[in-house]
């Protein structure tokens, strides 16, 4: 076990979520934000697939480790993380995928024994914001939410269809998976078909949520775990992919969003990053909570771009115990994604395939 550095920028940090295709994971954006804030310590990418584009970002990562999928369980992942610690300093592990959160929650004490910290929500908070429980959480705490039903079978979907669908047929019903995926259903037949598809991929239950006319905001938040909001950056998507994922966006200064973020983080006593998906209803101008994702969004580099670098703030809070007061995010800052070709030597793929590890830069063992 190595001793922690005095400055978070010298810390060894591992980040997951290396997929960087048209529906990217947040890992590359998190790594970029850390480097931009002056992080110069060991930066490790944890990858599930050797063809994830983040793996080849040698200007960001010192090393890449292949890790077992969450479905392989905590022991398999912990074994791999022990190797990461054995090869060099590791002070903070920053998972960025929804499906990893529960796993890392169970590992946080083992990681701490190895000298690596995490900055995660507690089980209660994580469970309260789960897609299957969010509507109930909102009702209890007085937040607005679109009509939502949790269904466990095709039969129950048939039963609630009339109640959940738009009587005028102008809005779809979103059929959502427990972790990922949402499809627009305009008819019961479509809804039943999506139920079968999505539950086969992600399991049960399925969430059926009525679409409402309006537009969407997203807020990247960082909570301190004691009810306080360390920072929040609101954004509106300007361009989306065919899957509805943000391709470009702009930061906004709507004060009600920060107020809602503050209330939400306090109600959940949320620790760590999360993304609020909020709908502004067209007629009433009311803000409705659609989802809370328990990690940084893939667009989180916009936080750094707007002057409030939340990934860096997380590392600082987790390792130094404080982040100082963050500057307010500037509204009117635009981001746009771009597809870039990365050239890499075959040796990297060979190394990842054979040993599950690629080292771009030499990292030194910190003195105990």
């Amino acid at each position: 076990m190595s001793s922690a550095p005095r400055d978070w920028r010298d810390a060894g940090i591992a980040v997951s979520g290396m997929n960087a295709a048209d529906n990217p994971a947040p890992g590359v954006a998190v790594a970029r934000s850390l480097r931009e804030a002056g992080h110069r310590g060991r930066l490790v990418g944890l990858a599930y697939d050797s063809m994830d584009a983040g793996v080849y970002q040698r200007q960001l990562f010192d090393e890449i480790y292949m890790v077992p999928y969450p479905s392989r369980g905590s022991e398999a992942l912990m074994g791999r993380l022990r190797q990461v610690v054995g090869d060099g300093p590791l002070d903070l592990v920053l998972p960025t995928l929804d499906s990893e959160m529960e796993l890392y929650l169970t590992l946080q004490h083992d990681l701490r024994e190895l000298g690596a910290r995490t900055f995660l929500p507690d089980e209660r908070g994580l469970s309260m914001r789960a897609k299957s429980r969010l509507a109930e959480f909102c009702r209890v705490h007085g937040f607005h939410v679109p009509p939502t039903e949790v269904v466990h079978s095709l039969e129950s979907l048939r039963e609630i269809w009339e109640e959940i669908s738009d009587p005028d047929g102008r809005q779809p019903v979103y059929i959502k998976g427990i972790f990922y995926e949402a499809r627009k259903a305009w008819t019961l037949e479509q809804a039943l078909s999506f139920f079968i598809e999505i539950s086969a991929r992600w399991g049960l239950p399925i969430i059926a949520q009525r679409g409402l006319p309006g537009f969407e905001y997203n807020v990247c938040c960082l909570g301190d775990g004691e009810g306080g909001l360390i920072g929040a950056v609101p954004m509106r998507k300007l361009g989306v992919t065919d899957k509805g994922k943000a391709w470009s966006g702009v930061t906004v200064g709507e004060p009600r969003l920060l107020e809602l973020a503050r209330e939400m983080i306090a109600a959940l006593r949320w620790r760590g990053p999360c993304e609020l998906e909020i709908l502004c209803e067209e007629e009433s101008d009311r803000l409705c909570l659609i989802e809370i994702n328990p990690r940084f969004p893939a667009w989180c580099y916009l936080c750094a771009g707007s002057g409030q670098n939340l990934p860096a703030a997380l590392a600082q809070v987790a390792l130094d115990g404080h982040s100082g007061e963050l500057p307010p995010a500037r509204s009117g800052v635009i981001y746009s994604r771009a597809a870039v070709d990365i050239i890499c030597d075959l040796g990297v793929l060979e190394s990842l395939s054979v040993s599950g590890h690629a080292a771009y830069h030499q990292t030194t063992e910190r003195e105990p």
Binding site: R236, V250, T251, G253, E254, S331, G332
Partner: protein, 87 residues
Amino acid sequence: MARLDHLHLSPQGFLFDHHSGLSFSTNSTGAFVLDLLIQGLARQEILNRLVEDFDATPDQAAFDLDEFLALLRQHRVLPRERREAEA
């Protein structure tokens, strides 16, 4: 009338709404009206300024102004309270 400080208007007529994240482009007359709206002037004051500064009859100016305000409401550039006050 309250100032609309969340609206940023460039001299070229580019408008950015810091609350909604939407942006618009307008011509010089639209920019003239928007500038006065941002300063917090009421409809009648804006109408007077239009008649003073542009070669338009009060009726024509009122017609054009109301059409423009309706367009701003449609795009949610004018906040709800202002929409109600105008109605």
